[in-house]
């Protein structure tokens, strides 16, 4: 059997999800945003929620998300996605409502909206793309920028005495009674992509079942802002970002996993 003989529809094991339309995405080559968009399209499709899903897009590089994933979207003002999602979900409780936000959006200008929506236990999913930088506006420092990390507004590296500590905002959300599921994932390897898919699926399920607020942080790269190639950015993320933002579930009241420790899964990442 030759290579070309295998290329038959019945042998397809992976293809672009139908809900990710043919539009060319404006993201820089290798940007993590694309991978997460793809996962959202796959999950909505697999859960049969195309007509029930309303995404709330951020201000940030993902501002054009509506151009790519074929569901209903609302574009919120910078940082206000959880507030908009609150209204949309309360008025349409049968819909699956999620926000999609960057670290500048969620952890800087939108900190108040994030914390209060999670504290109210709004039945929404929050997808948090933490690339440690304001990608869209030219790579400025964000609250999640690492100590010593160079950005256009911290050209000699973030200084704790001047700029404060990097903000692990997801950890704060764990302590709120309104959150049911809080997890931190990444999309740099095939295995990581699969885990993030399962996490977002769980979050969407929780939102549909009215379990409270689910938060999926995806530790991400912004290779343009970081001034690296995409492959270098992934390596840098593993080496540096994962130290401050360790991967694993931080809270799961819906599906508590008592065996997690036995399997070596980090349920309470050390900070």
């Amino acid at each position: 059997m030759s290579y070309e003989d295998i290329k038959k529809p019945e042998n397809i094991v992976y293809q672009r999800p139908a809900l990710l339309n043919g539009n060319h995405m404006h993201y820089c080559p290798g940007c993590s945003h694309g991978v997460v968009h793809k996962l959202i399209a796959e999950i909505v499709e697999e859960m049969g929620l195309q007509d029930k899903t309303i995404g709330i897009a951020p201000v940030g590089c993902a501002v054009f998300a509506y151009n790519y994933v074929d569901i209903d979207w609302i574009e919120a003002a910078h940082g206000r996605a959880p507030a908009v999602a609150t209204a949309v979900k309360r008025l349409n409780p049968d819909r699956m409502v999620f926000t999609y936000q960057g670290d500048g959006d969620l952890a800087a200008i939108g900190t108040g909206e994030t914390i209060h929506a999670a504290n109210r236990g709004e039945n929404i999913a929050i997808i948090f793309i933490n690339n440690g930088i304001y990608g869209m506006t030219g790579g400025q420092m964000s609250p999640t920028t690492l100590e010593g990390m160079k950005t256009s507004t911290s050209p000699y590296g973030r200084r704790i005495d001047l700029n404060g500590y990097p903000l692990p905002i997801t950890n704060l959300l764990v302590g709120l009674d309104g959150t049911c599921y809080v997890t931190r994932q990444s999309v740099h390897t095939a295995a990581a992509v699969r885990k993030t898919k399962a996490a977002i699926k769980q979050a969407f399920k929780n939102a549909m079942e009215g379990r409270g607020t689910s938060v999926v942080e995806v530790v991400s790269t912004c290779n343009s802002g970081w001034k690296m190639t995409p492959v270098q950015a992934n390596d840098w993320m593993v080496e540096h970002m994962f130290k401050k933002y360790p991967i694993g579930d931080l809270k799961n009241t819906v599906n508590p996993a008592p065996a997690a420790h036995a399997k070596g899964v980090e349920t309470h990442p050390k900070q």
């Binding site: 290579y3 295998i6 290329k7 397809i12 080559p29 694309g34």
Partner: protein, 76 residues
């Protein structure tokens, strides 16, 4: 013994030449075109060693632009 063979199709016009699929492939199937570019000027990915493909889909999973279709077949 049944053997698994794989194949991939790459949508070269969607491809941005980011190299992530090349890095993710465990079988050294993929490379970026050294000279040739697509309509947007990117050195797109291609199957340099197609016969080595095991259809694991690692390349397709990490591709931010969903350029890759993966096929897999068991043969005896």
């Amino acid at each position: 013994m049944p053997k698994v063979i794989g194949a991939v199709d790459i949508n070269i016009e969607r491809c941005k030449g980011c190299d992530l699929c090349v890095a993710a492939c465990p079988a050294d199937v993929l490379l970026l075109q050294p000279k040739e570019v697509n309509d947007r000027g990117y050195h797109f990915a291609y199957t340099a060693n197609p016969d080595k493909c095991i259809g694991c889909a690692a390349c397709a999973l990490v591709c931010p632009d969903a350029c890759i279709t993966v096929y897999r077949k068991k043969i005896d």
